[in-house]
C-alpha cells in the first residue's frame, strides 16, 4: 500500500475525497435538488419562507445599483462601473453556483454590473444596492481588482426587497482588498445571496459581512485561491431581531500551498424566534501544504427565545499544515460581568450595552472603514437603547 508523503501530496491521491469536493457546482438549477430541511446545506434554513427563490423567475429589474466613492463623490480614474450583459466578462467568471438558489439566481438574472478597479483607490468605493419593493428581483455584480492594487469596496443593501443576488470578486496577485457587504434591509425583506471569491497569488483579501436587517437573509460565501501565499480574512457581524432568520455560510477552500485564512463571525440575538445560522466549512486540499486556517463563531443571546445554530466543519486532506482550528459558542450574558458593572453604578441596561459593544468592538474595528464602524456601533447602540439619559448617550458616543 502506498504511503502518503506530505512533502509530495500528489504522489498518492487522498484516500477519502472530501464531501465538499463532491458537492455539485453548476450554473444550471437542474444540477441541484429543490431544497428541503433534509438536505444538509439547508437543514437550518426555514426553506418554506424562501421557496420563491428555488425556481427560475422573471425579475422585476427595479433594484437600483449605483456606485460612487463612499462620500458620494463620483468615481474617478482607475475604477470603472458599468451595467453589462451577464454573458460578458468579468461577469460569470469566478467559480460556479454552489446551491440551487444561486443557480436559480444566475439563470433568472437579466441585469448585471461590473466594477473594475485598476489603480490604487484612496477612499472606499461604495456600491449601493437599493431595494425597490417586494417584487422578486435578481442581480449579478462582478468586481475585479487588478494585480498589486489596494482598494476598499463597500456594498450597501437597503430598502425593501426580495432579492436574489450573486456577487463575484476576483483579486489580482499581490493586491490588498477590503470588501464589506452590509445588509440593512427594511422589514418584510428577503435576501438570498452568494459571494464567489477568488484570492490572487500573494494577495490579501478582507471580506466582511454585516447583517443587521431583513426578515430572512441567507448568504453563502465560496472562495478559492489563485496561487500560493494568499491571505483571506473573513469577518461577520449580525444582529438578529425577533422573528428574523440570518444565515451565513462560509466555504473556505485551500487549494494552493502556504495560504492563510481566518473566519471570525459574531452575532447577537434578541428576542423570540430570532434565529441565526453560521456554518463554516474549511477544506484543505492535498495541494495545499503549509495551510494556516482558523474559524470562529460566537453568539450572544440577549433575551430568551432566540436560537443560534453554529456549525464549523473541517476537511483536512493534507497533513503538512501549520494549523486548522475552529471554535464555536453560544452564550448568554454573564451574570458576574453584569453584576461587576452594576456594582460600579452602571444600570443594567447600560451594562448590557457595554458588554455587547465589547463583544463586537474588536471585530468592528477590524473592518477598518470608519464610516462603517461608526454607523454599525450606532445601530447596535440604538437597538439596545431603552430610555437612557442624555448624559450617558454623550459618554457612550465619545468613547
Amino acid at each position: 500500500m502506498p504511503v502518503f508523503d506530505p512533502a509530495d501530496p500528489y504522489k498518492v491521491p487522498a484516500f477519502m475525497p472530501s464531501s465538499a469536493d463532491k458537492e455539485p457546482r453548476s450554473f444550471s438549477p437542474d444540477a441541484f435538488a429543490i431544497p428541503t430541511r433534509k438536505i444538509d446545506d439547508w437543514r437550518y434554513t426555514p426553506v418554506e419562507r424562501i421557496s420563491e427563490f428555488f425556481d427560475v423567475f422573471t425579475p422585476s429589474n427595479r433594484t437600483k445599483v449605483s456606485a460612487s466613492f463612499i462620500d458620494g463623490s463620483p468615481l474617478s480614474d482607475g475604477v470603472r462601473f458599468r451595467a453589462l450583459d451577464k454573458t460578458q466578462a468579468p461577469v460569470g467568471t469566478v467559480l460556479k453556483p454552489s446551491d440551487r438558489a444561486a443557480a436559480v439566481q444566475w439563470v433568472s438574472t437579466e441585469k448585471a454590473y461590473a466594477v473594475e478597479v485598476t489603480a490604487d483607490q484612496p477612499s472606499p468605493i461604495l456600491i449601493n444596492v437599493e431595494g425597490a419593493g417586494l417584487d422578486l428581483d435578481a442581480v449579478q455584480i462582478a468586481i475585479t481588482v487588478a494585480a498589486d492594487v489596494h482598494a476598499d469596496i463597500v456594498v450597501e443593501h437597503s430598502g425593501v426587497a426580495r432579492l436574489a443576488e450573486g456577487i463575484e470578486l476576483s483579486t489580482g496577485a499581490h493586491s490588498e482588498v477590503s470588501f464589506t457587504s452590509t445588509q440593512e434591509w427594511a422589514k418584510g425583506s428577503k435576501h438570498v445571496g452568494s459571494h464567489r471569491l477568488h484570492v490572487g497569488e500573494g494577495a490579501h483579501l478582507r471580506h466582511s459581512v454585516v447583517t443587521l436587517g431583513g426578515d430572512v437573509v441567507r448568504l453563502r460565501m465560496d472562495q478559492d485561491f489563485g496561487g500560493p501565499e494568499g491571505n483571506l480574512n473573513m469577518l461577520g457581524i449580525y444582529f438578529v431581531d425577533p422573528g428574523q432568520h440570518m444565515e451565513h455560510r462560509t466555504m473556505v477552500v485551500h487549494n494552493y500551498p502556504e495560504c492563510k485564512s481566518r473566519v471570525v463571525y459574531k452575532g447577537a440575538l434578541d428576542g423570540k424566534d430570532a434565529h441565526s445560522t453560521w456554518v463554516g466549512n474549511a477544506l484543505i486540499q492535498p495541494s495545499a501544504p503549509g495551510t494556516d486556517s482558523y474559524e470562529l463563531n460566537r453568539n450572544l443571546v440577549l433575551t430568551p427565545g432566540a436560537i443560534a445554530d453554529s456549525e464549523p466543519n473541517l476537511e483536512i486532506e493534507n497533513g503538512n499544515i501549520v494549523g486548522a482550528g475552529h471554535a464555536s459558542s453560544v452564550g448568554r450574558f454573564d451574570d458576574e460581568e453584569l453584576f461587576y458593572l452594576q456594582s460600579r453604578g452602571i444600570p443594567e441596561i447600560e451594562a448590557r450595552k457595554l458588554v455587547v459593544r465589547g463583544f463586537f468592538g474588536e471585530l468592528v474595528d477590524q473592518i477598518g472603514i470608519a464610516e462603517i464602524s461608526d454607523h454599525l456601533m450606532g445601530v447596535i447602540d440604538r437597538r439596545l437603547a431603552r430610555g437612557e439619559s442624555d448624559e450617558m448617550k454623550l459618554v457612550l458616543e465619545e468613547n
Binding site: E337, S343, R344, I346, V355, G358, F359, G361, E391
Partner: protein
Amino acid sequence: MQHTLEIKDLHAAVETKEGRKEILKGVNLTVHSGETHAIMGPNGSGKSTLAYTLAGHPKYEVESGQALLDGEDLLKMKPDERAKAGLFLAMQYPVEVPGVSMTNFLRTAKTEVDGKAPAIRSWVKDLQGSMKKLRMDPKFAQRSVNEGFSGGEKKRAEVLQLELLKPKFAILDETDSGLDVDALRIVSEGVNRAKEDNDFGILMVTHYTRILRYIKPDIVHVFADGRFIKTGGPELADELEETGYDQYLPEGSDSESALA
C-alpha cells in the same frame, strides 16, 4: 459630612443543590465615616457573603433585616443604586469584561455615580494621577476591564476605582489575598490615600492580620457562623494572630484556621 451605615439583624441565604442554606444569621454593625472596621473570621464563616449581600449580588437572598446608609435601606435597591448611594465593594476576584476598555468603563461609572459626566480635563488628570500613584502602566487604561491583569493588577484596578468613585463606604473583600509584600503596600497606600481624601468608612474583610499592618483598623470584629461574635480594638487582631480562630469555630469542626 458624617455618614452612617447601619446593618440591623441581617439574615441572608443562598440556594444550593442541597437546598436553601442560611449564611448570614443576624448581622448587626454600625460604621461611621472615617472609621476602619476589620472583619475577621475563619474560612466559610460568611464574611464575603456579607460583603456581596450588601453590594446586592443576585446569588444571595436577603431574608430579613436592613442595611441603612444614612437611613436609606440599601437592601431595597438594585446594585447600581447602591453604588450611587455611596457603597463600593472592592472584590476579591474582580471580573473580566472583554472588549470594554478601562477608560470607557471608569468614565461610564463615574458619570453614573455622580449623575453627570466629569469635566474632561480634570477627569483625565485625576485618572492619570491615580494610576501613577498606584504604579499602574498607563497602557492599562486602554485594555479591557481586568482582562489579562495579574492578581495584583486587578487589586490595583479596584483601588483605582475606589479613588475615582469616592464612595461613602468601602467594603474591601480580601483585598490582601494574592498580593506580594510590595503590591500589598502599594494597594494599602492607595486605600489610605483615598480615605484621607474622602473620609469614607471602611469594612475590611480579611482572614489574615497582614494587611492590618498597613491599613490600621479602629475596630476589629470576629465574624463566625454568620454573625459578629466579638468586637474589640486593634489589640483583638494581635490576639487572633496569637491564638487563631479555633476558639470561635463551632464544636467538632476541623481546625484549619491557623493564621499565616
